[in-house]
Structures are given as structure tokens and as C-alpha cells.
């Protein structure tokens, strides 16, 4: 991410930067893999097997896509429920990220589900004993709520003021429903793994998995908000709202610190410290996750001087997000490999789809920023005219 300064597009003329060209070139293999996936089945494009039925698309796209969208419910709660109005300026980009994150998850599910055209079955055939049933409903309902929360941005662009007023009128129940659904959804992704006590490595298995997923998502979700402010600052020539990001970083330190402590307690209760001291495969992967995602960010951002320095703030947030991603991959892949008796490494087509979907999300974000009022200092762009989008 750091190598391209060319991504800092002036908003008017189209000059492709590094990432635009990268994702543009990825488009053709993305289409080829898509056609193969749907004509020949999952076996033709993935390294998934009977021994390892869930891979990158669940571990990264689903678990991380939802988790990193957690900034949206955190910030809407902070602004609308805890009434800390000073954070209002960064709510819109956060809701947009959350919404695009959920769209990303749904698109990934279209690839991962064996028969995605039956996704509506979850609405018709109920099994309340299934965590996946809860996950399905949370995805549906929370995506809807995010869409409604984001709708005023689009509606005001086209001058529809009545629906905007209606949404403002119901914003409190809307935000509360969003926080409830997010809490359920984030934790339910951890609950998915409660069912495999005999399969998931004791470094990761715990009856507290739902709580771990929830708290770490809040931490990493805040990290994403900071990262996103930084990236849009680079790409769209904005200033960094340090007065808002610094207190957010403090909240992140608290969330990550609490999370780290509870993880260590759970590992101790499972008697799994041996895996770390013996430096086994699982132990090493745990260290990567824990040092990158918890120890370093907490240590760095505990210091006010580092927190108020944009460079350290962004580095700490980046590490927190990276550690979060490694954690989700560890739970879904590393921790399951031992019981499966096989190693799973995603195939190139699997990676192409995941990266391609991230690219689609980033392009959608860039387009939204160009045509809608996402950031406070933007005057609603009129240069494109109303037909601009």
C-alpha cells in the first residue's frame, strides 16, 4: 500500500495509478476463474477437499470482511448512542466501509457456497440450532441496516429530502438494531467454531470464542477506521483528523489489551502454552498473530507521543488489522490443519477471487468518494453533473 503515490488522483481527470492498473490486469483472470468455478465446480479451482472443506474464502473473505466492517457499528454507537458528536465527520466513510465490507462478504459467499442460487433457503427453511442460520440472518438484516444508514448520502445527492428526513427520524432504533445485529454477528462467527472442540487447536479453541471474535473485531474495526482515514488522505489529498483518531486509538488499545489478556487466560486454561514454548507450527503462527496484532499495537499506541504521531498511529493500526487477519486465518485454517491431517494452502484461483473482490470494494469506495459527499470537507461535487453517477 505504501509504495504508490500515484494513487493520489486528482479527482477530476482519470489517470490510472498502480492499483488501478493492478486490479485492471486482474480482471481477466478473475473472469476466467469465475467461469471455471461455476462450470466445473469448486474442486476445479480451489484446494478445498473432503478433509479441508473451508478455506481462504471463509477464513479471509467471510471472517475478515465482517470483522473489519466492525468500525461501522462501533462509530454509529459512539456518535448516536453515546452522543459523542465530535466523531460525526468520520461516520460516513465508516458506514460506507461497513456496507462495502458486507457486500464483499456476500459476493464471496456466491463463490464459496456450493449452490449460491439457493442462498434464500435460509429465509424459508429455519434451523435455530445452527450458528450458520444466525450468521445468515445477521448478514441479511445488517446489510439492510447499513444500506438504510448509508442511503441519506445517496438520496441527498439527488435532492430527495423527504426519505432523508424519515431516516433521520428513526435513526436511534436503526442504530440500536445495527449494534445488536453486529454484536450477534461478530460473536456468532466465533460461535461457528464452538462446535469443533475436538478439531480446533487448544491455542484457539475456547468457550469464549464468541467474545474473542467480538472484542477483537471492535479493536481491528477501529484500526480500519484509522487506516482508511490515512489512505483516503493519501488518495484524495485530505488532512488526517488527528484530534479524532487519537482518542479512537486509545479505545483500540483498551479493546486489544483486554482481548490479549483474555486470550492468554484461555490458553492457560487449555494448558496450551506448551505449543508456544515448543515453537510448534501452531505456536509460531500464534506468535505471529499475537505479537503483530496485540503486543506491538498495544505497546506502541499506549504512548501518547506515538499515538499523536500520524506515522506511528497508522503503523500501529495497520499491525492491529494485520494481526486480526492472521488470527482469523489461524482459527479457520492453521488451527484446523492438525485435526484434518493435511496442510491447506489456497490455490492461485482462490487468491485471485479474494484479491479481485477486495479490488471491487476499493473501486466502489473510490467511486463513492468521487460522486458522493463522504468526507465533511467535500462540497457535494457538482462537476460531474447529476448524471455523473
Amino acid at each position: 500500500m505504501s509504495a504508490s503515490t500515484s494513487a493520489a488522483l486528482p479527482t477530476k481527470r482519470f489517470r490510472p495509478g498502480f492499483w488501478t492498473i493492478f486490479f485492471g490486469l486482474l480482471f481477466i483472470p478473475f473472469c476466467i476463474v469465475t467461469v471455471m468455478r461455476f462450470s466445473k465446480g469448486l474442486g476445479a479451482v480451489t484446494h478445498l477437499s473432503d478433509k479441508f472443506p473451508w478455506g481462504l474464502w471463509i477464513g479471509f473473505d467471510l471472517l475478515c470482511g465482517v470483522g473489519l466492517a466492525a468500525g461501522a457499528f462501533t462509530l454509529t454507537a459512539v456518535v448516536h448512542l453515546f452522543n459523542l458528536k465530535k466523531f460525526e465527520p468520520i461516520v460516513r466513510p465508516t458506514i460506507l466501509t461497513g456496507f462495502l465490507g458486507y457486500i464483499f462478504v456476500i459476493m464471496a459467499l456466491m463463490f464459496d457456497l456450493g449452490q449460491p442460487w439457493r442462498i434464500w433457503h435460509a429465509i424459508v427453511y429455519w434451523n435455530p440450532h445452527s450458528v450458520m442460520f444466525e450468521v445468515a440472518w445477521c448478514v441479511m438484516l445488517y446489510t439492510t441496516i447499513l444500506a438504510v444508514e448509508f442511503a441519506p448520502v445517496v438520496l441527498e445527492r439527488f435532492g430527495f429530502h423527504t426519505p432523508v428526513r424519515i431516516i433521520h427520524g428513526i435513526i436511534t432504533p436503526l442504530v440500536i438494531a445495527g449494534v445488536l445485529l453486529s454484536t450477534l454477528h461478530q460473536s456468532s462467527l466465533g460461535s461457528l467454531y464452538l462446535i469443533v472442540p475436538s478439531k480446533l487447536h487448544p491455542l484457539w479453541y475456547s468457550q469464549l470464542l464468541p467474545l474473542f471474535f467480538y472484542i477483537s473485531a471492535i479493536g481491528a474495526g477501529i484500526g480500519m477506521v484509522i487506516l482508511e482515514s490515512y489512505m483516503s488522505q493519501r488518495a484524495f489529498g485530505r488532512h488526517l483528523e488527528m484530534d479524532l483518531l487519537e482518542p479512537l486509538a486509545r479505545a483500540m488499545v483498551v479493546a486489544l489489551g483486554l482481548y490479549g489478556l483474555m486470550r492468554l487466560q484461555a490458553i492457560s486454561r487449555n494448558g496450551a502454552f506448551g505449543a508456544i514454548t515448543d515453537f510448534t507450527y501452531e505456536g509460531r503462527m500464534f506468535l505471529v498473530e499475537f505479537v503483530l496484532g496485540v503486543l506491538l499495537p498495544v505497546a506502541m499506541l499506549s504512548f501518547r507521543r506515538l499515538r499523536t504521531n500520524p506515522r506511528w498511529l497508522v503503523t500501529g493500526s495497520f499491525l492491529a488489522v494485520l494481526g486480526f487477519v492472521v488470527n482469523r486465518l489461524n482459527v479457520s485454517i492453521t488451527g484446523m490443519e492438525g485435526a484434518a491431517g493435511v496442510r491447506y494452502v489456497p490455490s492461485l484461483p482462490e487468491i485471485i477471487i479474494s484479491v479481485g473482490l477486495v479490488g471491487i470494494g476499493m473501486a466502489a469506495f473510490a467511486l463513492a468518494v468521487r460522486y458522493l459527499k463522504i468526507f465533511p470537507e467535500q462540497t457535494v461535487s457538482t462537476e460531474g453533473g447529476l448524471g455523473g453517477s
Binding site: 478445498l48 452522543n83 450458520m132 444466525e134 440500536i176
Partner: protein, 258 residues
């Protein structure tokens, strides 16, 4: 009455008649494979000087049925755990969750479904034994009511304590299963998972899921309370004579005293 199967590894001669009979009964394509798959629902594996049959264990509280979001898997009153391919959307959570790694997937199909032993449900419902039990020339796999099979297994162990491991695999594993196994050597040597908790895994998720209604009510009221207090505080501070902070707009409530 629930039925089940008892497989006695000390009697199995490894002929594979059960696996062939299964293919025929369930019209599964291709030859019998070494491992179970979506097209081979049971198979006999040589393990040292013994043989082990692999097939769905038909849990009393099936993990697969508990995790399926659309309820495509369920336990019939007779005992078999059956699969409704018409409902399945292919999330593969059953494969992930099954403590015995039983459900398998049609990785080679564009419209794939799960494949697993369904204990010849149609035969069982008519009171007939499963195809595999009927085909076994050595009576290594026998069919009967689960209670009778447990009695039979205990008898065999009691009558020949040196010839058997004192363990009926499936009596308590994952909460108990309708398919049970006997052997003269540790089951992990035969490729089975041992040390499974006797509590059905489904209980662990239900402990969490059953709390959701309470959680939603309490958390929802709490959040609204927080909003009510913070919004009220803003109104009060805005109209307090000593600290007047004009120009606060709050679009989320209309509590403005006149």
C-alpha cells in the same frame, strides 16, 4: 425403538461386500474407493492385521443436523440421519462440524450436493436390515435395535475379555451413536477419533444460541437507556443558565422544552 449397526472388527474378513452392496443399493457411481467420499458412503480399510469399516455413525444428537442452517439433515425416529438434497445450499458446515468427518462433498460437480451413508432409510422403514448388514458374509456388521446391539456387544466382551478391547465405540462418543464398533486393539490405531467428549458438540453452541433472545432484550434496553441519558444530558446542559452551549443540534430526538 431406534435401530443401529454393530461392526465387529475382529470378525471382519475385509471382503468389501458391504461397500459393494452399498454402492448398488444407493446407486452410487464409480468403484469403491479407499476413503469414503460423496460417491463411496462406506469402505473397508486394512489396518495392520485388522480391518475397519468407515461409515456415518448416525449420532443420537447429530452435530451435522444441529449446524445445518437450512435443516437439510435430520435424525429420523427410526435412527438414520438423513439428508434432503433439495434444501442444501452447499455451505459445508456439516463437513466442518462432524466429529467423525463423515459428510463428503461432490467437488467435481457444478451443482454439488453432500454424500453420506443414510443407513438405507427406505429399507429400515420397511423393517429390513441395511444392505451392508445383509451382504456381510462374516456377520461382522449386524443390524438391530440399538439396545439389543449394546447388549450383544457387552456379551461378546464379557464372554471373550481377552479377545476384545473393553470399549464399545459409539456408546458415549459425541453423545452416543447408532452405529457402534468393537475391536481387539485401540480404536485410534484403526483410524477412528478417540477421546471425543460424551457431551454432544451441539450442546456447546446451544448454550450460546439459547441466550440470544435474552441478550437482545437486555442489550437493546441498555443501549436505548444510554442514548436517553446522553441525549437528555445534552438538553439539560444546553438550557442550563450557567453553561449555555448554543447551537447544538441533535436530529435523533425532539425533546426541546419550550
Amino acid at each position: 425403538m431406534t435401530v443401529g449397526l454393530l461392526f465387529d472388527a475382529t470378525r471382519c474378513i475385509g471382503c468389501g461386500a458391504c461397500a459393494s452392496a452399498c454402492k448398488e443399493q444407493n446407486k452410487l457411481p464409480g468403484p469403491v474407493e479407499d476413503e469414503t467420499s460423496a460417491y463411496t458412503w462406506t469402505t473397508v480399510q486394512p489396518k495392520g492385521d485388522s480391518y475397519m469399516r468407515r461409515l456415518c455413525m448416525h449420532c443420537l444428537v447429530p452435530t451435522c443436523a444441529s449446524v445445518c442452517p437450512v435443516g437439510a439433515l435430520h435424525k429420523t425416529p427410526e435412527g438414520p440421519v438423513v439428508y434432503d438434497a433439495e434444501k442444501c445450499m452447499g455451505c459445508r458446515y456439516c463437513m466442518m462440524a462432524c466429529p467423525f468427518d463423515v459428510p463428503k462433498y461432490q467437488w467435481d460437480r457444478a451443482v454439488p450436493i453432500i454424500g453420506k451413508c443414510i443407513m438405507c432409510t427406505s429399507r429400515v422403514k420397511k423393517g429390513e436390515p441395511t444392505a451392508c448388514a445383509e451382504a456381510c458374509p462374516a456377520s461382522a456388521t449386524i443390524f438391530g435395535s440399538r439396545a439389543d446391539l449394546i447388549r450383544e456387544a457387552k456379551d461378546r466382551i464379557r464372554q471373550n475379555p481377552s479377545g476384545y478391547l473393553d470399549h464399545i465405540y459409539g456408546l458415549t462418543e459425541a453423545g452416543g451413536t447408532s452405529v457402534m464398533m468393537l475391536s481387539n486393539q485401540p480404536f485410534e490405531k484403526l483410524g477412528l477419533k478417540t477421546g471425543l467428549p460424551s457431551e454432544p458438540p451441539a450442546m456447546r453452541t446451544w448454550q450460546v444460541l439459547s441466550n440470544i433472545p435474552d441478550f437482545v432484550a437486555v442489550w437493546g434496553v441498555f443501549l436505548y437507556g444510554v442514548h436517553w441519558i446522553t441525549a437528555r444530558r445534552e438538553v439539560v446542559s444546553a438550557h442550563h443558565p450557567t453553561q449555555k452551549t448554543p447551537g447544538i443540534t441533535d436530529d435523533s430526538h425532539t425533546g426541546r422544552p419550550s
